[in-house]
Every structure is written in structure tokens, then in C-alpha cells.
């Protein structure tokens, strides 16, 4: 299991780097999908198959399709790639890179200090997720539901056509 975890982690990091460096938006999105899929595999190896499946269904399967949909509507050609190439220069990415490096160092330090536990120590099935969501996290769930409903009503209002 550990080997699979490290391989999928490597794939996730590599594909995320590719997402940032691609000039073509759709190619970048493809790498983002790969990244999400590898994160799903990581969840699976960590004993959370339910979250893994939801990651694929909701993030990779639904939200990313909408991203691709929007990209297709925008019809970005070679001009957009040229603009993208101009934007990616060291001045733009040095700040975020330093901040991310600090986080990375922290992560390595935490891993080295041995306060982590082995991967896949407990299997959390869908039933356990459901029970904890609807008992200890019920308020959070309700709030998230209300937020989504507000988004839905807002989208409906914006997209409404006056029939006259």
C-alpha cells in the first residue's frame, strides 16, 4: 500500500506542476483531472473509499467537465497561449513558490519528527461518514446545504427569462 501511496502522490505533484506550466487551457485542465484522480487514489489507500469515489464523481466527473465546457465556449486559440506565455515569468511566480516551499519544509519536518501514523490504519466506510455527518457535524452540513441552496436560487434568478 505504501508504494501505491507514494506513486500516486508523485503523480499528483507532477500533474499539478504540469497544470501550472501548460499554455493551452484544456491541456492544463486534463492534467488537473489527472491530479484529482491521483488524489482519489491517495484517499483510497488511506482507507477512505467513500471520499475517493466522491472525489472522482464530483470533482473530476462534474466540476471539471463544467470547466472544460466553459473553456470550449471561450474558444481560446493560439493568441491566448501567447498571452499565457507572457504572464508566466519569474517575477510572477517567485512569491507563491517561496511560500509553498515554506509549507513543504514544514511538512517534511512533521513527517521526519514521526508524529504521523501509518497509511490505511482504519477503513472508514460510507455508513461511518454518513453517521458522523448527520450527528456531530449536523450544523456544518445544514450550513453548507443552505449555502448551496442560496447559490442555486441566485443562479436561477440570474438565468431567469421574462416571459413577455
Amino acid at each position: 500500500m505504501a508504494v501505491i501511496f507514494y506513486i500516486s502522490s508523485a503523480v499528483a505533484i507532477l500533474s499539478t506542476v504540469m497544470v501550472i506550466t501548460r499554455m493551452n487551457a484544456v491541456h492544463a485542465l486534463l492534467y488537473l483531472i489527472v491530479s484529482l484522480l491521483s488524489v482519489a487514489v491517495i484517499f483510497f489507500t488511506l482507507g477512505a473509499p467513500f471520499i475517493a469515489a466522491l472525489e472522482v464523481i464530483i470533482y473530476a466527473g462534474a466540476i471539471m467537465v463544467l470547466f472544460v465546457f466553459v473553456m470550449m465556449m471561450l474558444n481560446m486559440g493560439t493568441k491566448a497561449a501567447e498571452q499565457e506565455r507572457k504572464w508566466i515569468n519569474p517575477r510572477m511566480y517567485v512569491g507563491p513558490a517561496i511560500l509553498a516551499a515554506i509549507l513543504g519544509v514544514e511538512l517534511v519536518y512533521m513527517l521526519a519528527s514521526g508524529s504521523n501514523r501509518a497509511a490505511g490504519f482504519e477503513m472508514i466506510g460510507p455508513k461511518a461518514v454518513g453517521i458522523s455527518l448527520y450527528s456531530s457535524y449536523i450544523i456544518g452540513l445544514e450550513l453548507a446545504g443552505m449555502l448551496l441552496l442560496a447559490g442555486l436560487v441566485g443562479a436561477f434568478h440570474l438565468g431567469r427569462q421574462d416571459k413577455d
Binding site: P49, F50, A53, I57, V65, L66, V68
Partner: protein, 320 residues
């Protein structure tokens, strides 16, 4: 070691079965459509024209595999592969008979849904990478259609999941030993069937292809075996949807007298024939009609079905 070999054998068997079933299905579809349209269908090559598919296959293998110069080559190349991959992966969780099945994971339902939602990429990316306005329109239609119908495809299955109390397909089949789910979950069955047809963009819902409006929709620019992959992928998709409906709503392998595997294939076959019948009889809806159907009829029906199922289950459990 024996355990591993056994599951590998089953996997190869399922793969071979699917790949022989799909061309057989092409032949069956042509014959049945002909039967319902007062024609004969292929009847020249071999007995009842069964080798027509073989001839077509040989032809399509030797066709020029042309990639248009204006296409995005990388995406154009991987798009047909995605549909085959996702559809074949979905077969992994289908339990054919007790002890026969490739994979037995406890989130089988979600795995199937995940694979079918990934299948949308094939059509969308194929349409986009062709760099052709008709393909693009087909891809756009496919994206919105598949996203919309995925929503209540999942919701319609939740009633079944609630009744079985598990996401495991094997346990879902076992829970139907007394009564098949088609009786208590009839509305879930109807919604799932419609959503499954739309998900595989089969003919009443073949709006992404719509040959009368969009040349051939998302695969206008595809030729040779790349087109063949889309084509076979669609037929394997029909087999998949039939198998999944059998598993979820018709009690899988359960049935009197005959061995379990025969029952499974019999039920699957009935559904395949039913889908061909739908193709022979129903016209293609307009796109706004499709969306209205989906969001204003199917989605409330699925949610209502889920709510009633939940209420009844709670009432029954409290009675005990």
C-alpha cells in the same frame, strides 16, 4: 496464488465476453431494427448475416487512420480511449453470479457512477479537439446532457442503496432475494433507465451526435479504428447499462430453476432488446425538451422516490 489466478481469469473472461458481445450486439441491433421496420437487415454474409460484423470490422481496421491537421493531436488521440477505458472499468464491479465477478469493493455503486461521469470526458474532449464547429456543438451538448443526467442517475440509485443498506453491489443483489427492486423502487427504475440511456447517448437521447443536425456530432472528424472505439464503446455501454439495471432492479442472478449466470444474462438480454426497441420507435427530443425533462420531471421524481423510500424504511424499522 490460486486466488489471484482465479480473479485474473474472471477478469479476462469478462473482457473477452464484453468484446464478443459488443459486435454481436451490432448484428443483433441491425436485425431487430430491421424486424421492427419490416425489413431483413444483414442476411448475406454467413448464416443470418452474422459475419457481416466481421466484414465491417476488417474494413474498419484497414481504413486510413486520419488525424485532421487542424486538430489538437494529443487530446484527439486520447479521447476515444477514455470511453473504452471507463466503460470496461465499470464492468469490474458487476457481480455476474455468486462468486463470479472481477472486483468486490464496498463502494461499488459509487465506482460505477464515478466511471460513468468520467466517460463524459471522452465525448467532450473528442468534440473539442476536432476543432470543427459541429464537433464542438456536439461536445457542448454532450457535456450539459451528461452532467444533468448524472445528477439524478445517482439519486435514483440511492433508494436501492437505502433498501439494501450498502453500496456493495453483491449485497444489493442479495437484498433482492425476496422481491426484486423493480416493484418497490419502480420510479427509481424508470428514472435510472432514462438517465442511463442519456448517459450512453443512445438514440432517443443521441443529441450529441444528432446526424440530422450536426453531421455526426462529436465524432465527425474521426475515422478508422478511432471512430470504431467510439462506436464499440457505445455498444459496450448498452451492455453495461443493461447489466447494471439487472443488478440494481431485477435481482441480478436471482431466479428459479435456471443457474444464476443464465438468469443474469437472460435479464440483461431482455434489456438490450428493449433498448433496441426504444431506438426503433422513439424520435429524438429537442435539446430544451431534454433539459426540461431532466430537471423538471426526472429530478423531482428521483428526490420524491428517495424521500418516500427513506420514510417507509424509518417507519418499518421503528415498528420492529
Amino acid at each position: 496464488m490460486f486466488e489471484l489466478n482465479w480473479s485474473a481469469l474472471i477478469a479476462i473472461g469478462v473482457l473477452l465476453g464484453v468484446f464478443t458481445l459488443a459486435p454481436g450486439l451490432i448484428w443483433l441491433e441491425r436485425r431487430l431494427l430491421a424486424l421492427w421496420q419490416d425489413r431483413y437487415g444483414p442476411n448475406r454474409v454467413g448464416p443470418f448475416g452474422i459475419f457481416q460484423v466481421l466484414a465491417d470490422m476488417i474494413k474498419i481496421f484497414f481504413k486510413e487512420d486520419w488525424i485532421p491537421p487542424f486538430a489538437d493531436k494529443f487530446v484527439f488521440f486520447i479521447a476515444p480511449g477514455i470511453i473504452m477505458l471507463t466503460v470496461l472499468m465499470s464492468f469490474a464491479v458487476i457481480p455476474v453470479a455468486p462468486g463470479v465477478g472481477v472486483m468486490d469493493i464496498n463502494v461499488g455503486v459509487l465506482f460505477f457512477l464515478a466511471m460513468s461521469s468520467l466517460g463524459a470526458y471522452s465525448v467532450v474532449l473528442g468534440g473539442w479537439s476536432s476543432n470543427n464547429k459541429y464537433s464542438l456543438l456536439g461536445g457542448l451538448r454532450a457535456a450539459s446532457q451528461m452532467i444533468s443526467y448524472e445528477v439524478f442517475m445517482g439519486l435514483s440509485l440511492l433508494g436501492v442503496v437505502a433498501m439494501a443498506g450498502s453500496f456493495n453491489l453483491r449485497e444489493i443483489v442479495n437484498a433482492q432475494a425476496g422481491m426484486w427492486n423493480i416493484v418497490p423502487q419502480f420510479f427509481g427504475f424508470v428514472v435510472f433507465m432514462v438517465a442511463g440511456l442519456a448517459e450512453m447517448h443512445r438514440i432517443p437521447f443521441d443529441i450529441p451526435e444528432a446526424e440530422s443536425e450536426l453531421v455526426a456530432g462529436f465524432h465527425s472528424e474521426y475515422s478508422g479504428m478511432k471512430f470504431g472505439m467510439f462506436f464499440v464503446g457505445e455498444y459496450v455501454g448498452i451492455v453495461l447499462i443493461s447489466a447494471v439495471i439487472t443488478t440494481f432492479f431485477l435481482g441480478g442472478w436471482h431466479g428459479p430453476f435456471l443457474p444464476p449466470m443464465v438468469w443474469f444474462f437472460l435479464k440483461m438480454f431482455v434489456f438490450i432488446c428493449f433498448f433496441i426497441l426504444l431506438r426503433a420507435s422513439l424520435p429524438r427530443p429537442r435539446f430544451d425538451q431534454l433539459m426540461t425533462w431532466g430537471w423538471k420531471l426526472m429530478l423531482p421524481l428521483a428526490i420524491l422516490n428517495l424521500a418516500v423510500t427513506g420514510a417507509v424504511l424509518v417507519a418499518v424499522n421503528q415498528g420492529h
